[in-house]
Symmetry: D2
Subunit: 487 residues, 4 copies
């Protein structure tokens, strides 16, 4: 299951996949931390639909409940009632083929010498193989292939109090991590020194504080956005309020640009900018870079809509709806009678009759990954009467996989790794095709230095310039769990 | 579960509920009728999400499979393989509290003296109590409280061949019915003499024909829209192609206006008009009738969007998105910690920050039924920074229940039955509130006679002028199943 | 699933299958009829394990709940609470391949001109095809292939009050039926004129009466056995207590002998004789008819045990346990690695070491149907050290199928239809094999006239002398549902 | 769920509960280790019904599948096919209230520096709190409250090869453990130095070896019993066949006597004695110690049957069946209408009419724990006509809990801890009550020294003489998981 803003997806989906959403809450008030976590996870549902879980502490004992499914499917009054306490963390996990097991659901909850320890993790440690090896050599058995188990065992095996251990963790862990951590008495929020995955702080009522992957979760539960957790920062929520320390030296800020392009909910804010408006701005930049003569701008709904509106505004070409999207899309293995690739797309989209007839159409989407749906969509517009279809993409060509926690695709699957833009245009049957430039994208998201150079985002999937060396990652590792356990 | 274009709904929903979607297919070609029916039912999913079913005939035997859930949940390759044949009918049913039982799922399939008989029914017979009584007096036992069982038993007890029996049925049944009927060798489509519920005919390939509640199902399976079934018409699909006869004298055409306003998918067509464009036109008419000074037009997504676009176009006030809708809405019984009504709405909608700040906003929705969500939505816009909120509704006030198959609400629940518009405005906390007039609505949907009088639609929920006398309906009926069986 | 006194069966089972268990209750006292029915159905669980259901009336409305599974799996406090009332009927159904559908679960509950009508049916109408045809010709559509639906529609279509209609039913229905029937105000018990299937009456407390397939259900709920319902009798339980009339002329009493041999629970009583003691007597008769030199008598547990004890008593050869039976037998489709037939039997039985070593063993079973388990059991005894194995069967060879509601097997499957006793002996690898004679069996069950001729039981599966002519049954019937509906 | 030889239990059960059954297999032949493990676990189902699992190794990778339910419910061809390999271990777990979670299912499978490590554990470590503390202090986080996780982490944290680590484990672990352990290339069997829980070795075909809790599992898969694993022994099955070493100094042999009395399947063998015959001998000893005048000996089926037969043989009083047991007993929460304790027993047992009338009856059971069912059973016999009921128990009074892996009950629940025998007799309403003496029991099981003193079994539940000091156990332990995690 991916993170397009649809409920469930057919295989016609052509979007990168987010890893997870995390949440944490500490409140002194007489409210149920688990209940608020439920609503917050619901608001973060787009970040992962495979499993959901909540862990709480009542100051004495810790509790956890997690299961496969959407937040609203996993939780009911009965299991919420087994989660007492005024501290909680929560997690949504997305689904990938082959690892869709309950044992990978989070939060993890273990006992340590310091008491209970819960973890919700968004991201990916690129030196997990080395860290696993260290743990195994230290004599710790590992029961999953998850890098999250690595994190909790590093913390369990650390020295000193929790803060000391969290700093030690930061000194060892390389890669992307936005963590919410539950102990008996406190909730911690950690963000890796590059700031790959987002994490923000909110204030709830007089005394409560929360942590969330995106600010939309704050709005839903009535909390106010305070600020984002800084790269390398450790935030602690406890009975004394909120405390912070720098856990590791911040590195070049490297928030994943795809959060702006596609992942985040449009009403979330990063760096004080609303995602929805950034996406409109991406569309405006695209119109400037890649104008075309046309009668109509349409979006690939829903994620392409803000960029299409921006394109229309900047180009002066009217915006209109071109597709109707079936919102009841669920997973099915029923194959259409006709084996053409078009059919799986027609399960999800129909062209809007009347709007397209005789028109030259600009079709705006936010990204193309494998390129398997753009062609059928172009054809649907032509079937609906469009005389020309000009495809505009509000992000640059994706040429490299992500190793920081996004299930983007492999090199071999990325159409822009294999083909030139002109070849892709021909493949999808468009009259023209243009992507937004990297510079244009960075200006639109506002991530430029004074001299206009890109600054402060990870664009590795477009550029191949990974903020962290991937040497370790690329070594085969005989200690990796894949070499020991079968699926 | 209702028919808003979302997957699943919280109790924050304030829309009328459709009864069902129906489909039928006859093909001489070597394609699986059941498989095409699956895809067609998927396209009609918005008309009912409680249960789904398909019945087929292979010319010798009939088969049926139905279960609770969405089409994509109900069917898989295994159960589809138990549905051989080149004839099929299909059905989506919506869910109401208390009757959510598998025994109410359709199609019904029974044995009769003429062989198998399958039925998929959209609508409601207002003289069902009388027809039930007739059947009971004829000595037929009835196992459900459904008027659909009444229809199949009337057909089973008729005389002559199927066409004769269908004409007899039409002579007896009063109320709303769009039926697809399966026999051993043919598929029939029937529409009541008033044409309350929609039903259209499509052509599939060289020799195949299909029947569907809406044309969007035709598009999805690659069929071409031929025309709508006429009020009182009986259409027969068999090895000789398509045949038609007038089964009953057509009455004043009374297609439910709410199909235009809300029920139908925007890409469906009625009377050669695309629903999406009609909805835009409703918004334009609303702008003309109820203009206001404002900075921004926003829609209550998704169903209010076309009208909002139309309002913006006609008023010259810019359209923008004002709400983000959580598309992962599912049924939950988790109550928010705060008991204010606002909370269930915030599960589903967040205001879009940045767009609203300091703005005078027009909020356009397609309808208000009970009025329980408009107030929280107005408040959300104010929370998002709107200085004024003017609510505009692209249909007239709903003052009367529907007895023709739409679960609208009772008199006591309809806010416009109980309160004046000014009182509703105060209740929902808007700066102003205006509904579209009935005349304006009818002109927008194009249903006017030459002299401008409304013509050809059922507006009873707005006017109380029911096309059929409801005398029978209002009598208590000692024979009704409710008097015999408990839930 | 069959009716051996085990929970669930592998395919190693070689027993005939019972159709169903039925129950009915009327009580004026403030007890829940549904709750008592639950416990009674639990006691009758051995008569059917596929589905269970209860229908109740509270004097105004009728209610029903039924589902697939064992009684203890189907019912919980929540669904029991939806079954108010002081009248109830209940039903256990056994499972056959291909008809294992919820739509076949009972009780049936329909509305009729006289109010609600519920039915629980044990047996099989041999003229069901003719009765179906009559109903179809009367214009009644039928939704299942069940002869039970035929019964309720005949009753719905009858004239006069319920008693009149029940007499009319008895005049038409041929074959085996033990029925409990629920109306708004009364519970009826009917037994066919031959008395094929058992049905008894019990008294509960001061004013309550119950009906049950076997007396063990009475014991479980604390009711006292009054007597059996007579062949052709109609018993009515209502506010006036218990009433009875002869609904049809009794025919030659034809209770299924297999009730004594295998079906009934050992603690049930027929004709004032405890089944357990009858089975011991069958074993004694077998010892007299077919003595052998041996050191040990063992049973095929559990159903063979009483006969083995009787054999041991009469022969003077010590009884001991020879097999251990795995009581956790459930349905599995896991095939043993070794494809020999022995393996499925070893899932269920192990020989008891120590007891068998060097012994000449008599292995007593109550019946052999297909003959597929006797051979592996003989081999297990040899593996356990037995030097000789003499098989003794406490019923005659089964040579004919049953058409009265027992799923016995087809002619082609019955080993005794195909092979001589000596051939069977060779096939199963026994040193000797003997069956009880029909005369011996009838004397043991006490069913002899003064001159010693068999009297009062149906032995058709042994003799081929069916109490009712099967002419109709053997005609192909173009109106049968099998000719109309697929599986 | 307990381990009575019934499928599922109502709360009327009054037996101690076994912990688990374990199995291990190594075969060079081309057979599927997982499939044989399935059949073996099925034969061991009586030792645990909550969950079942199998872990395999194909020499390269390890695989595991486990789920809640009976073996036949957990496994199917699809999940068996995910368990390739020629080495396997398997586990059945019993259910206790409150810990019935999948996370407690076994086998455990972890990655270690030496490769995969799988564990199936029967027993209980009494120094688990200390071992947990050691692990926590070593910095290992623990995710369950299970002592089995303690074992695998001790092994993961050991030094040297597997054999070295297993010896180290034996040096640390106090209490009861019969383990089967899977590594990439070998299967190990370990039994604690006291031999509390049973474990035996079998030979399969030419080259294969197996390990099982009881020999009945060997019989089922066609393996031959070789011998039992010795206390303190480590057995290794690998490509070189079978190897053994003494892993720890054997202590006073302390096999749980309740294996003989109740737990083990009657066809299993311990010390070359068949359990069934031992139980008969217990009954004979009981007849000698506690004779009575009576007409009939009946058993509380099924586990009391062998002792009742022995009692009958020794006393000369005829044995007969007195109860019929409902074998379809499942878990239900339906409460009988009558709140007397009798009712839950009547769900499970009916007296056998005819056998009891006017008789003085000896009722033999194997044990009494809480004493909540004996009274209702005595009453049932009286209801069935018995004039006197003399209760005889083929084991001594249970006065002390078990800390070695049997869920016996707490001191406060044990009726013989609270009451004298004469008081229990009065409580259960028997004419007389006698238990077997400890000496009598030990002679019957053959566990006496030359001078007749008891030798070689753990009788702590009768005597309070625990073979291992319980000092640690009785200390509250602030590190115990119960102090950290809620349920």
């Amino acid at each position: 299951m991916n993170t397009q803003p649809d409920h469930l997806q057919f295989n016609s989906s052509d979007k990168p996949h987010e890893e997870c959403g995390v949440f944490g809450i500490y409140t002194n008030e007489a409210v149920e931390a688990a209940r608020l976590t439920f609503f917050a996870l619901h608001a973060l549902q787009h970040r992962g639909q495979e499993s959901a879980g909540i862990a709480t502490s009542d100051g004495t004992m810790a509790h956890v409940y997690k299961a496969m499914g959407l937040v609203s499917q996993v939780f009911n009054e009965e299991n919420l009632s087994t989660l007492p306490g005024h501290l909680a963390i929560g997690h949504n996990r997305y689904s990938t083929t082959g690892s869709s097991h309950l044992r990978n659901a989070q939060p993890l909850l273990i006992e340590t010498l310091l008491g209970p320890l819960g973890l919700a993790h968004n991201g990916n440690l690129i030196n997990a193989p080395q860290l696993r090896r260290d743990l195994l050599q230290r004599g710790v058995g590992l029961s999953t292939s998850s890098d999250s188990e690595v994190i909790v065992q590093i913390l369990a095996g650390g020295h000193g109090n929790w803060k000391t251990r969290l700093r030690m963790l930061m000194a060892q862990a390389e890669g992307a991590f936005a963590l919410t951590i539950l102990t008996r008495d406190a909730v911690y929020g950690l963000r890796d020194p590059w700031g790959f995955r987002p994490l923000c702080i909110g204030k709830l009522g007089e005394h409560g504080y929360v942590l969330a992957s995106e600010s939309c979760a704050l709005t839903t539960i009535g909390a106010k956005l305070v600020r984002e957790v800084l790269p390398g920062e450790i935030v602690c929520l406890d009975k004394n309020g909120i405390h912070s320390e720098q856990g590791a030296t911040p590195q070049q800020f490297s928030l994943c640009t795809f959060e702006h392009i596609y992942f985040a909910r449009p009403d979330s804010m990063f760096q004080n900018k609303v995602i929805h408006l950034i996406r409109q701005q991406l569309g405006r930049a695209l119109a400037t870079e890649a104008p075309t003569e046309a009668d109509l701008v349409v979006a690939v709904p829903d994620s392409g809509t803000p960029a299409a509106i921006g394109y229309a505004q900047a180009s002066g070409i009217p915006f209109s709806e071109g597709f109707i999207k079936n919102r009841y899309i669920g997973r099915t293995f029923i194959q259409p009678h006709n084996t053409s690739r078009r059919n799986s797309v027609t399960m999800k989209f129909n062209p809007l009759p009347g709007n397209l007839d005789g028109k030259r159409v600009v079709m705006v989407d936010d990204s193309i990954v494998r390129g398997n749906t753009a062609g059928p969509l172009v054809q649907l517009l032509r079937d609906g009467g469009a005389t020309e279809v000009h495809v505009r993409v509000s992000s640059p060509p994706i040429k490299h996989p992500c190793f920081m926690g996004v299930d983007m695709a492999t090199y071999n699957e990325l159409i822009a790794h294999k083909l030139e833009v002109s070849e892709i245009c021909q493949r999808i049957g468009a009259n023209s095709l243009a992507y937004l430039s990297i510079d244009g994208m960075m200006r639109a998201v506002g991530a430029t230095n004074a001299d206009g150079t890109p600054n402060g985002y990870c664009n590795a999937c477009f550029t191949g310039d990974y903020p962290i060396s991937l040497q370790e990652q690329e070594n085969g590792d005989k200690f990796s769990l894949e070499g020991v356990f079968g699926s």
